[in-house]
């Protein structure tokens, strides 16, 4: 029996939507999970009650709302609230798709670099466009920290510009690599259970308890990582947007 931990990341076209240039645009399993994520978030946020005293379901919707809102307020200030819909959409999309991806046999949308890169670039360009729109040329102040001696300023500015340009890379690769590595590890350890059973028979099945326990523990860890990476992505978005709102450190 062969265990292929990479197989779970395969993109399977379900049907073809159309063509752009010479590229075929297909509705894939990834698309399915993206829309499933959108549907789940919509059900949570629109299907919850409007009671004065919320039930569990309504509480969940309100807690996510308050959680994202307080994250923005604490990192980007009250002015950051104009990006509330964007950050809420990013956080919920990543969080829900990550959580769905932990269910066995499902597909994890954010385990593909193209998806995380697209989201990170969206944030990157939002910061640049809003930064110049709101501050004009003063936006360049984010590259010039105050209180730095003039003779090392060129070096500092170079480092600042470089790190600014690297932001989308670290922003996207962090999420992508976490999801990818977590799911590979899960698959490998889960695969050990079956491999031991098939190759060693009864002894193997008993011995398989250990990797099974590890798989359970890893699943719990992955649940944490799924939420945490969505949170990290959202909070970094807030911090980057804070630069656009208040340039000059």
């Amino acid at each position: 029996m062969k265990i292929d931990p990479i197989h779970q990341f395969n993109i399977e076209p379900l049907f073809t939507i159309g063509h752009i240039g010479n590229q075929t645009i297909a509705f894939t399993n990834s698309s399915l999970y993206m829309f499933l994520t959108v549907a789940l978030i919509s059900v949570l946020m629109l299907g919850s009650g409007r009671q004065l005293i919320p039930g569990r379901f309504q509480s969940m919707a309100e807690i996510t709302y308050e959680f994202v809102a307080s994250t923005i307020r604490s990192t980007a200030g009250a002015e950051g609230m104009r990006f509330f819909p964007l950050i809420f959409t990013l956080f919920m999309f990543i969080c829900v798709s990550n959580l769905v991806g932990i269910i066995p046999y499902t597909f994890t949308v954010s385990s593909h670099i193209i998806v995380t890169a697209a989201l990170a670039l969206l944030v990157f360009f939002t910061v640049i466009v809003y930064g110049f729109y709101k501050n004009g040329l003063k936006f360049f102040k984010i590259f010039v920290p105050s209180g730095v001696p003039i003779y090392i300023l060129p070096l500092v500015v170079f480092i600042e510009v470089f790190s600014f340009l690297l932001r989308p890379v670290s922003h996207s690769v962090r999420l992508f690599a976490n999801m990818l590595a977590g799911h590979i590890a899960l698959k490998v350890f889960a695969g050990f259970v079956a491999m031991l059973g098939v190759s060693l028979g009864a002894v193997g099945w008993i011995g398989g308890v250990m990797p099974l326990a590890l798989t359970v523990a890893l699943t719990a860890l992955e649940l944490l990582v799924a939420f945490l990476q969505a949170y990290v992505f959202a909070i970094l978005t807030c911090i980057y947007l804070n630069d656009a709102i208040h340039p000059g450190h």
């Binding site: 062969k2 292929d4 990479i6 197989h7 990341f9 395969n10 993109i11 399977e12 076209p13 073809t16 939507i17 063509h19 752009i20 010479n22 590229q23 075929t24 645009i25 297909a26 509705f27 894939t28 990834s30 698309s31 993206m34 829309f35 994520t37 959108v38 978030i41 919509s42 946020m45 629109l46 919850s48 409007r50 004065l52 919320p54 309504q58 919707a61 309100e62 709302y65 308050e66 509330f84 819909p85 964007l86 809420f88 959409t89 919920m92 999309f93 949308v109 385990s111 593909h112 670099i113 193209i114 998806v115 697209a118 989201l119 969206l122 992508f176 990818l180």
Partner: protein, 185 residues
């Protein structure tokens, strides 16, 4: 171009079946990028519209409404508390007024009683003084009478003694003069 996907899929399957996943690592397979990007854009824009137009105003509205209700209730509670405090103050003021009024009434009654008692005492004292005067007068009269009696008895006794000693009855005037002199002396 639909076949290009088919080939990719077939290729991936072959690799998976063969257990060799060196070349076709799905996340880096650029032939799927366009499909994923299109789906992502559609899904993300749809979610953004749902979230910004419907979900956030809805949930935010519910939270705000609750906040308003809570603030309204708190304001109402504060108002009621103020009212009860005002009522308590009014009650205490009323109580203090009643207490001072009671004190005033008590004082008045006490003064009236004192005055009445004083008047009664005075009249009683006057009455007693009158009776005391009467009694003293009576005592003085009695004493005068008694003294005059004593003088008579003394004169008689002196006359009798003189007669016994001399054998001759003395002159009444001389005896009474001698008795008067000795009584005065």
């Amino acid at each position: 171009m639909a076949e290009s996907h088919g080939e990719t899929k077939a290729g991936a399957h072959t690799e998976a079946d063969g257990g060799q996943h060196g070349g076709g690592f799905p996340p880096f397979d650029s032939s799927t990028f366009a499909s994923q990007l299109v789906s992502l854009v559609i899904a993300f824009v749809a979610l953004y519209i749902i979230v910004s137009r419907f979900a956030l105003p809805r949930v935010g509205g519910v939270i705000e409404a609750r906040q308003n209700v809570i603030e309204g209730d708190l304001a109402q509670a504060q108002k009621l508390k103020d009212e009860s405090e005002a009522a308590l103050k009014a009650y205490e003021a009323e109580l203090a007024a009643a207490r001072s009024r009671a004190q005033a009434i008590g004082n008045e009654a006490r003064e009236k009683m004192n005055a009445a008692a004083e008047a009664e005492r005075k009249s009683l004292e006057e009455k007693l003084a009158v009776r005391l005067g009467d009694a003293e007068k009576q005592i003085a009269a009695t004493r005068t009478t008694a003294m005059s009696n004593v003088r008579g008895i003394a004169a008689d006794a002196a006359a009798a003694i003189v007669q016994q000693l001399t054998g001759a009855a003395p002159d009444g005037k001389a005896v009474s003069k001698a008795v008067d002199a000795s009584l005065k002396g």
